[in-house]
């Protein structure tokens, strides 16, 4: 009983410490990898070189969807480590005299807890890249459409990269503030809205997919999502969601269902997948405010978007679908660059 109580206290305290200190940017990895509860998937991964290790990683990344999840995993790890270390110390006869009173035992336990927690944080910090921390955090917020949080927490933080500007401007566009805030930048250029060079990076391609989705350029959004997903091994949950959505908007329900079926095999995205499974028909799409708004962005006449300019495409979307505010916001912002 005493051991259980001690473990619970360690778990609770470490959970609190980690929850307070783990940054949102640590959740970034869960955008690209997760575990799929499918025996064929497990078999296929296990058959690959280092497949067992990848499967363990994928399983572990399930917890990385939220900072609470990360804190819980680290807290379990800390609790186990402290308990094992304490048990080992207890078995070393030489220390029996040291731990002969409850106060002393508690002191050793507390010391182990502090040491383990500090070490865990240090190791975690060592293996977690601090580069592009803001971009990573904003990408996590953008994945959940938390535009207000991006604006609240990052609008006053000076950007160090164009990618940060891309994310902030996307949030502004979603909230109808882009044209008002864009001129506040010093010497803005088009790369502040959407980077023109992706350098084969799937993460930048994923960001561009989000930006084009916000703009209402559904085809371009799908193209970048597809390419990014391909580069990331085809099972990025974030990109599968984008592919499912773009295909639903384009009326490609069978292939959308394929992506939805994958997502329904995850813990984190199962309910999302089941919700959008109900949208696999024209009637359901048109009855859905968000999806129907996006569908109205699809041009009536076919063309090659890549052979035209973005402003031209945006103007067409604005003319056709004036209710899609981000398109007009981006159009106005691009107009300010001229």
């Amino acid at each position: 009983m005493k051991k259980i109580l001690s473990s619970l206290i360690v778990f609770g305290l470490s959970m609190l410490v980690y929850w307070l200190t783990v940054p949102l940017s640590d959740c970034y990895i869960a955008q690209w990898r997760t575990f799929y509860w499918d025996r064929h998937y497990c078999n296929e991964i296990l058959a690959q070189h280092s497949g067992a290790w990848q499967l363990i990683q994928d399983f572990y990344y399930q917890a990385y969807a939220t900072t609470t999840g990360i804190a819980a995993v680290l807290a379990v790890f800390t609790t186990v480590l402290v308990s094992v270390a304490y048990a080992l110390l207890g078995k070393i006869g030489a220390l029996h005299k040291v731990m002969d009173t409850t106060v002393k035992q508690s002191g050793v336990y507390a010391l182990l807890f502090v040491l383990t927690t500090v070490c865990t944080m240090a190791v975690r910090g060592y293996f977690t890249s601090s580069a592009d921390k803001n971009v990573r955090a904003m990408m996590c917020l953008a994945a959940d459409n938390k535009w207000d949080t991006i604006i609240e927490e990052y609008s006053k933080v000076p950007s160090t990269t164009k990618l940060e500007n891309n994310l902030k401007n996307m949030a502004y566009a979603e909230r109808g503030q882009l044209s008002r805030r864009f001129t506040a930048n010093r010497h803005p250029d088009v790369n502040d809205l959407f980077v023109l060079e992706i350098n084969s990076s799937p993460y930048v391609a994923a960001l561009l997919s989000d930006i084009y989705w916000t703009m209402g350029e559904i085809t371009m959004s799908q193209m970048y999502a597809f390419e990014a997903n391909e580069k990331l091994g085809n099972l990025s949950p974030r990109l599968l969601k984008r592919l499912a959505l773009t295909n639903i908007v384009m009326g490609e329900y069978r292939v959308a269902e394929k992506y939805i079926d994958w997502l329904s095999k995850t813990v984190r995205h199962h309910s999302w997948a089941e919700y959008y499974r109900t949208k696999l028909s024209d009637e359901a799409v048109m009855a859905d405010e968000y999806l129907s708004l996006k569908r109205r962005c699809v041009p009536e006449e076919n063309g090659f978007p890549s052979s035209r300019s973005i402003p031209y495409d945006l103007q067409q979307i604005v003319n056709r679908n004036p209710g899609h505010l981000p398109s007009s916001e981006y159009l106005k912002a691009i107009g300010m660059l001229r």
Binding site: F226, R254, V255, K258
Partner: protein
């Protein structure tokens, strides 16, 4: 002791529960909700069995399938909605049978046994070539990550890599081709990293640098001459663009293209004005079974980006004299005239991928509304020409003797495109996107004596949901009678170390 008895009791109980017996079930008089749809298909004896998946809508429990032929009866229980008969059991069933029936039974909500209408699978005496090669790649746009050329043993579910791009610094690879289904003579291209055309003959591999000043590009679409001495290629300047609304998603088109012949011994390419015209795009060459005719597709050269949907490729042929080509007499290597087998301007559509059956009788090709990259054209369908009856070439509307026929028994509402023949000419594999309109899958079909084809079915996989889960397309499925024997490590070494032989243009 008690534990031992308990263990034996549990073991016997679990064994007992695994024994499946055919049930006297009430007939539902409805079709079994399984995928793929196997009812009425014809399969070869030497093909691995199709695994069946029960639809999610099926509300039965304790589902089992009773496989029955004249020689055997096997009952298979459903495991997580899948009915997977083993290869060994399937071989027992089809060993001496012409037909297999599959009856699916299960308990309804009231606990009563019910049974769907039986599924019937015919077994053909014609064997299928034991290997199928293809490229696996995402149906993507401009970038790629992992891809490779793979070879599947059709009697089992075993797939081996011929070569993967992780061995060649991540470059692209494409257009694998065998000489008359013989994998000992093979070629393929690597693009970007380790770029070149790789030709495997007589157990040796050589790397070719195939761009010449006289050709518009490196060599592209190949087809071996039956002698093995020559390979017909197209040379293409290919571009692609993305549709903003069109269901075809992507448009791939040629701004220029010609057809040339590669001499494998002299490392030279040559052509003739009829195959290398400025006024036309020539592409997709294919030699006849006797090697005396070269089929190809030809379209008027247009400003493709503006008029991409007006480009129509006709199916043409030209005589080819291999003896003259070997002796270096280019003037007499090709016939002076070009015959038009399918006139796209008159008959409509646009033709790609002519492929002749090994006996020379049947010429199968793909027709789409326009253009030449039919895998992105959802209206692409398969047609067949009976080359033993060309009398109606000028009058295709004469339905009494349709020498060119749409293969309605094979075609779907989605893309039906690339195809190849087995060495005995009785089986065809073709690429289709009928499953989900995006990912290309290989489907198999049998040629009947009357020129019709049996109901197509997907290449069997070890689990029934494989195609729904799989995120890559099967490109260019090609049968072969033997495996590719060249080790992938040898290909890798050649790609990384050989500078390549510069191919010359013979004038």
């Amino acid at each position: 002791m008690n534990n031992k008895y308990a263990f034996l009791l549990l073991a016997s109980l679990s064994l007992g529960s695994c024994t499946l017996t055919e049930q006297d079930a009430r007939q539902l008089h409805s079709q079994a909700p399984v995928s793929p749809d196997v009812d009425g298909i014809t399969v070869p004896r030497n093909l691995a069995p199709l695994r069946l998946a029960m639809a999610d809508t099926c509300s039965l429990s304790s589902v089992q399938a009773v496989f029955e032929s004249s020689s055997s009866k096997i009952i298979v229980g459903a495991d997580a909605g899948e009915l997977a008969i083993s290869i060994e059991d399937w071989q027992k069933l089809v060993a001496a049978a012409e037909c297999v029936s599959v009856r699916i039974q299960g308990k309804d909500k009231a606990g009563q046994w019910v049974e769907y209408d039986p599924l019937t699978i015919s077994v053909s005496a014609d064997d299928i070539d034991p290997y199928l090669s293809y490229r696996l790649i995402e149906p993507g746009y401009e970038v790629w990550d992992s891809m490779g050329l793979y070879q599947r043993e059709l009697g089992t579910y075993t797939q081996k890599a011929i070569v993967e791009n992780k061995q060649t610094e991540g470059g692209c690879m494409n257009c694998h081709s065998f000489r008359q289904n013989n994998a000992d003579d093979m070629l393929f291209h690597f693009r970007a990293k380790c770029g070149g055309t790789y030709v495997i003959r007589d157990g040796r591999i050589e790397k070719l640098n195939t761009k010449t000043p006289e050709t518009v590009s490196a060599l592209v679409y190949p087809y071996w001459h039956p002698s093995g001495r020559f390979v017909a290629f197209s040379t293409n300047i290919t571009k692609q663009a993305f549709h903003s609304k069109d269901p075809n998603r992507i448009e791939v088109f040629d701004n220029e293209s010609d057809v040339v012949i590669y001499d494998t011994e002299k490392h030279e390419v040559f052509s003739c004005p009829q195959l290398k015209s400025q006024a036309a795009f020539e592409t997709f060459p294919c030699f006849s079974a006797d090697g005396k005719t070269l089929y190809f597709c030809s379209a008027d050269s247009l400003n493709v980006l503006k008029e991409y949907d007006k480009v129509q490729y006709s199916l043409c042929s030209i005589g080819f004299d291999a003896e003259a080509a070997m002796s270096g007499s280019l003037a007499s290597a090709f016939s002076a005239t070009v015959d038009t087998i399918y006139n796209a301007k008159r008959q409509g559509g646009s033709i790609s991928f002519p492929r002749i059956s090994p006996d020379g009788r049947w010429l199968m090709f793909t027709r789409a509304g326009y253009g030449n990259f039919s895998i992105w054209h959802r209206d692409a369908d398969l047609l067949i020409a009976d080359m033993s009856n060309l009398s109606d070439a000028s009058n295709p509307s004469d339905s009494s003797r349709p020498y060119i026929r749409e293969l309605t028994e094979l075609n779907s509402s989605e893309v039906d495109s690339y195809h190849s023949w087995s060495s005995n000419g009785r089986w065809v594999v073709f690429s289709t996107r009928r499953d989900d309109a995006l990912y290309t899958r290989p489907y198999l079909t049998h040629l009947n004596d009357d020129g019709s084809f049996t109901k197509p079915f997907p290449l069997p996989q070890s689990d029934a949901h494989f195609y729904h889960r799989f995120m890559k397309s099967f490109n260019i499925p090609e049968f072969s009678v033997n495996p590719v024997s060249m080790p992938s490590s040898t290909i890798e070494q050649c790609a990384k170390t050989q500078p390549g032989i510069d191919v010359k243009y013979r004038k």
